[in-house]
Symmetry: C2
Subunit: 244 residues, 2 copies
């Protein structure tokens, strides 16, 4: 079946405390069985995950790195506070592991698409909880089941460019596990666990873009696997990770 990726226009600027489900329900023609992909930024904004840099006192470590690489030391300080581990710190790039376990540049702290000149946006505190809240609120409000993916753009080793991935997931399985199944020739599919929530996030990015002010997309007709599921399942556990 043809899968449709539908951009959602007309969402107002999201302010701290905004009821995201009301905004989404008003702007999007959601149907039962759609998957909703929401860029994390509007989730973070609604949750007040915005920091005014004027109130941040940078540590000596943040000052030193920022001075060396022409960065704002207060923003570097926020990145460090959002991190539990520095993965790479080289050539002015700061790749850290966030408190959630995501490995990304600048702990996901970002100044784009934030209204205040002096403000930066953090990742949601618990993107799975954010996704679950929106999933439940859309069910209450509209009486339909809509899995929710909260996304962000991450870089990755070895490949150029960033792609959208799923930080939070609710209402669907984020991984499609083909192990135990066979291909059309009867060969067992061993290494085939697909990160479909990440693929949904990437597909949504094709209509969302960076400058178009479209912070959400509907994926229609995708045969998702219902059930409990989380973005945390997409974070590789340290004992399995060869690149730790």
């Amino acid at each position: 079946m043809t899968v449709e990726i539908i951009p959602v226009h007309g969402l107002p600027e999201v302010r701290p405390g905004a009821d995201l489900s009301a905004l989404v329900a008003g702007a999007a023609g959601l149907r039962d069985g759609d998957v909703l992909v929401v860029t994390h930024k509007i989730v973070s904004k609604s949750e007040g995950r915005i920091v005014a840099l004027s109130g941040v006192e940078p540590s000596p470590f943040a000052r030193q790195f920022a001075a060396e690489h022409g960065k704002d030391p207060r923003q570097t300080e926020v990145v460090l506070r959002e991190s539990r581990r520095i993965v790479k710190m080289d050539r002015g790039v700061l790749i850290t592991e966030t408190h959630h376990g995501f490995v990304c540049a600048n702990a996901g702290v970002d100044a784009s698409n934030v209204p205040g000149e002096d403000e930066v946006c953090l990742l949601p505190l618990d993107p799975d909880a954010s996704a679950a809240r929106l999933h439940a609120a859309l069910r209450d409000r509209l009486g339909i089941t809509v899995p929710v993916v909260v996304s962000d753009s991450f870089g990755r080793p070895w490949r150029e460019g960033i792609t959208n991935v799923a930080l939070g997931v609710a209402g669907m399985r984020p991984l499609a596990d083909y192990r135990g199944q066979t291909d059309p020739h009867g060969y067992p599919l061993e290494a085939s666990i697909l990160a479909v929530a990440d693929e949904l996030a990437s597909a949504a990015e094709l209509v969302v873009g960076k400058t178009s002010a479209v912070p959400l997309a509907i994926v229609r007709n995708y045969g998702y696997e219902p059930g409990g599921g989380s973005g945390a399942e997409l974070v590789m556990s340290p004992d399995k990770d060869l690149f730790r």
Copy 2:
């Protein structure tokens, strides 16, 4: 605009020497401006990139690794021959850099979806050339411009599951560069080069799947940036790569 991801059914088993453009033109209702995403396997098959393991003599190094981890030493030998560098060799997992520069498990050598019991499939020798040939042949045959993405599923550090990425690209820019543009609030988008060809490959995977014998998908209404472009541009150059 709504982007459509359309699965293409009815492609026959592809044999070495097959004219892929004829098969694709016959099976897919392609239109001018569509993007065609083709899983590398049918490209590799049409190009004869299939190896019969019965003819492979494993090296002592391949024998040793295979014995230790319960693998077929002949298949390990093929993986080593397709590699120019071993990136990680740990817990039975062999992640290598292929001669193209792709970093992936087993150099992309795979026994699934191959008809012969004793056969494995390699990546295309030059996926960009494969994409360019198909792109040109579809123009000749149908008189339409259809960018082509040749895809495969790769794992990645830090995250569970595999996602589809673009190995070869023709007829479009694989990266969307937002640098120099600003967000709706006027903030410059610095770190925003999106790997849209990878996102197209991931989007296509949502309808392709692993067991459904759908080796290609059409992406319709995606506003790609026309022009010369290659999958090679998605391979990070060693001097920029922090994870080398």
